[in-house]
């Protein structure tokens, strides 16, 4: 049979196809001496500052909008747009004094009116905002109103006295925006046209692709290293890692533990592992909706305490999270926790002894009691594997554990929010470095939204009442320490670890990752 295609013809076509990509120039938006490129897993949903809900959004907004105070890396609260504040005698009015000569990105002067407007606009029910400011900052501080007292003095009115660092930290989450521009815009326009007050301005947002911000020349409150910052959206972790190693991005978050070695061996980037502020724990639900011997058993503090000894947390960190960790001893992040609390050690023999003592000896079948342990998949670092490992540790001390792994968004999240997860469940909740009370507000009320176990310890809640009347920080810390001791002993949570965060950082820059999941890069510089 004769040939239909000549080999030379086929070879020519193949060569042409292979050569075409090589004939063209290099790709755009690469890092250079004035441009920093960051790879994030998700895009922002909007450029409306009152709709920010995720950390990824906050990372970008934090560069475009300034706040009254700023949470520093070590958890202290530093002046930013405001240089000081005073509190009224009754603790209900906080007056901030702004720096002089501030300007908005629309060229107008940034004054107390802009700050008051920011709060009023967020609180306006007609705007129907659902972001962090309305979602937890305003309820958290007990916001009532805001007013401009003079050009540089603005007063925020609150409904009750509250811990100073807690309130100041929460207020530091509010992005100040500029009245003239925002008053003139519809909500739809505001969602795409941010007029900021921070060190960078938005140049371009290509949805699901990148956000480009550039330095504001006349912003003097912060020194910024790079002229331009690209926030690229790279949803797949392996792709982010490949782009980092190839030198196409400078910083990526959430490096998968199994790819840390590849990054470190690349010669172009290294992984920074930091102990995050998210508290990972196993909750013991106290709700009476659960039936069975296991659900009954974990209502007994002695059982809960016994189970603290059953789980080898450092090994879980080492084997499943790819990092050494110290077990948590409380729900509060360092340095605000009770320093006298030591993490429960891994001691299965002690766990078994305490369970025997609590009235739950092994039966003839070897089991002490049956219980269901639920956990999510796809929300936390290696979550499903961690849940299964914990289930195995509990099995080893005679608990007949049925592990149920549920999809986060469709099953687990609604169940958590309705307190219908359990009787044992795995969860992580965001924490802070700047206030013990911020971490503790998870358990502010017996049936409160974030008290997922519905733990109702009278001494604990009496502690909250005492705190309401304390103004002295040392006295406040004393009560906090007592409360954390109560929680340690009563153990509504099986304390695990503060979730580690892994950032891939290019060797061409100097930048230090923070504990609180914030990626703040205006202080990043080129390496020597």
């Amino acid at each position: 049979m004769k040939r239909v295609f000549s080999p030379l013809g086929i070879l020519s076509i193949v060569c042409l196809l292979l050569a075409m990509p090589l004939m063209v120039s290099a790709q755009a938006a690469l890092p250079d001496d004035t441009t920093l490129v960051i790879g994030q897993s998700v895009d922002i949903a909007s450029l409306e500052p009152s709709l920010v809900t995720s950390r990824q959004e906050a990372n970008i907004f934090g560069h475009v909008f300034a706040t009254l105070y700023e949470i520093s890396e070590d958890g202290t609260l530093q002046p930013y747009l405001a240089n000081s504040y005073s509190i009224s005698e009754d603790g209900l009015e906080w007056t901030f004094t702004l720096n002089e000569g501030l300007t908005c990105q629309d060229g107008e002067a940034l004054t107390a009116e802009d700050v008051a407007y920011t709060f009023q606009r967020a609180a306006n029910p007609d705007n129907a905002f659902t972001g962090n400011t309305v979602g937890f900052v305003m309820p958290g501080v007990g916001y009532v109103d805001a007013r401009a007292d003079s050009e540089l003095e603005v007063t925020i009115v609150m409904d009750e006295r509250q811990s100073e660092p807690l309130r100041l930290g929460l207020l530091s989450e509010v992005y100040i925006h500029c009245k003239d521009s925002y008053e003139a815009m519809t909500l739809e326009e505001a969602a795409t046209t941010p007029i900021g007050s921070g060190p960078y301005r938005v140049v371009e947002w290509v949805r699901d692709d990148y956000v480009l911000i550039e330095k504001v020349a006349d912003f003097t409150l912060r020194e910024s290293g790079f002229e331009r910052i690209y926030w690229r959206v790279i949803p797949e972790a392996s792709t982010r890692v490949a782009e980092l190693i190839a030198g196409n991005v400078d910083i990526i978050a959430n490096v998968p533990p199994d790819q840390i070695e590849a990054v470190n061996n690349s010669g172009t980037a290294e992984v920074q592992a930091v102990q995050g502020t998210r508290r990972m724990y196993v909750g013991f639900s106290q709700r009476d909706i659960w039936e069975g011997e296991g659900a009954e058993a974990i209502r007994n503090p002695a059982v809960r305490r016994a189970l603290q000894y059953a789980v080898d947390v450092p090994t879980i960190c080492q084997q499943l999270l790819g990092v050494e960790c110290t077990r948590a001893a409380s729900m509060v992040n360092d340095p605000n926790s009770n320093p006298n609390l030591t993490p429960y050690p891994y001691d299965p023999a002690e766990a078994e002894r305490l369970l025997d003592e609590a009235g739950y000896p092994r039966g003839e079948d070897g089991w002490r009691f049956d219980i269901t342990f639920q956990g999510p998949r796809g929300r936390y670092l290696n979550d499903a594997a961690v849940v299964q490992a914990i289930g195995q540790y509990l099995t080893d001390v005679g608990i007949n554990v049925t592990v149920e792994i549920l999809d986060w968004t469709s099953e687990y999240l609604p169940a958590v929010r309705e307190h219908n997860v359990g009787p044992m469940f795995f969860l992580g909740t965001g924490g802070a470095t700047w206030s013990a009370l911020y971490d503790m507000t998870d358990i502010r009320e017996p049936q409160g939204g974030t008290n997922y176990t519905e733990w109702n310890n009278a001494d604990w809640f009496a502690g909250w009442e005492r705190l309401a009347n304390i103004t002295d920080p040392a006295q406040e810390q004393e009560v906090i320490n007592e409360m954390l001791q109560i929680m340690y002993d009563d153990s509504p949570w099986l304390f695990l670890y503060f979730q580690p965060d892994f950032y891939g950082v290019s060797n061409r820059i100097n930048w230090q990752a923070r504990r609180d999941e914030q990626v703040i890069v205006y202080n990043a510089t080129l390496a020597e």
Binding site: A28, A29, G135, P139, E188, A191, E243, E411
Partner: protein, 325 residues
């Protein structure tokens, strides 16, 4: 013909409504979406307020009816996350997805035809075996894995092509900015190759097998034997006589292929950070952004329905025996 078109369009409306109803129910069966729109520290009161604000407190039939009424007025509502009209968000991303889909379809078709012919002409040889083995591999390999492998090998090790991202061509073209489109083309082409291959390999393999089997069937026909016995060159026999007839089922398949590729871009768009509709819908589903999902569903259904109609009309042109009733 006109009657047929009207009937098909009416059927299309029913199909689109059916699809929207199914997606609406599925999204609601997967849990209360309100929790995704409040912070993890929100109180029950705030959750209830948000639920009412988003309209999720109303009975499901009422929610769906409201959607249908608005749809009839050409309004698909606002995205719950972006707070902007949902349909423009979909249309904004559609060109990127079309670029990728068309590119994948072109490479899969252009390569499948010669590969299928070579395989058929060399039936039973090692070359045929090798090609069919490759085709089987192409149909079996998960696109997610293939995408990552291409990134690691071609993008990272060889540094031949960009690892991720997109450079637009269709958007400036549609905006009449031919200069930008032309300037962007080389970059766009480079960015298209890896994701295009990732989603095109399955189609390429399937089409190559289809061309091969179709060619084998045609090559056994009497008129091919006659053509050869007349002393025509083999190339003329294959390309002029056999291929034309062998391509009829292939063209039918290619028409359907577009819809298949369009629905299969989610993985490639995620792996290669391609800002298309697939990723938009995927994110909207995980965030229960129901208006956005519905806008995308209606758009995709419309494209599918239109494609099917075009294919049916094309049949009549290709095969005179087919009549529209």
């Amino acid at each position: 013909m006109a009657k047929y078109l009207v009937r098909r369009l009416l059927q299309s409306v029913v199909v689109i409504l059916g699809v929207t109803l199914l997606s609406f129910l599925t999204l609601h069966l997967a849990g209360d979406p309100t929790y995704l729109y409040v912070s993890e520290r929100a109180t029950q009161e705030e959750i209830d307020q948000t639920r009412a604000l988003l309209g999720f407190d109303r009975p499901l039939p009422e929610q769906y009816l409201r959607f249908v009424v608005r749809l009839a007025q050409g309004d698909m509502g606002n995205s719950l996350r972006a707070r902007t009209p949902a349909l423009p968000l979909v249309m904004e991303r559609l060109p990127a997805t079309l670029e990728l889909t068309i590119f994948a379809m072109v490479i899969s078709t252009l390569l499948a035809i010669p590969i299928g012919i070579i395989s058929a002409v060399n039936r039973g040889t090692a070359l045929d075996g090798g090609v069919m083995l490759f085709a089987m591999f192409g149909q079996s390999v998960p696109s997610f894995w293939l995408g990552i492998m291409l990134i690691l090998f071609v993008g990272l090790s060889l540094r031949w092509l960009p690892i991720s991202g997109q450079v637009p061509v269709l958007v400036p073209l549609l905006q009449g900015d031919l200069m930008t489109a032309a300037e962007n083309f080389p970059q766009a082409f480079r960015h298209l190759i890896l994701p295009g291959l990732t989603i095109g390999v399955f189609s390429l393999s399937r089409n190559a097998r289809l061309v091969r089997s179709s060619m084998l069937e045609v090559l056994a026909q009497d008129y091919v034997v006659t053509a050869r016995s007349k002393g025509l060159r083999e190339r003329t026999v294959i390309l002029r006589h056999a291929l034309r007839n062998a391509l009829i089922p292939v063209i039918t398949m290619i028409g359907l292929e577009f819809g298949f590729l369009l629905s299969g871009v989610v993985v490639a768009e995620t792996v290669f950070s391609w800002p298309g509709v697939g990723r938009l819908v995927f994110n909207a589903i995980t965030q229960r952004d129901i208006p956005l999902v519905q806008a995308a569903v209606v758009t995709f259904s419309f494209i599918f329905v239109l494609l099917n109609l075009l294919i049916d009309l094309l049949y009549v042109q290709l095969d005179p025996r087919v009549q529209l009733k």
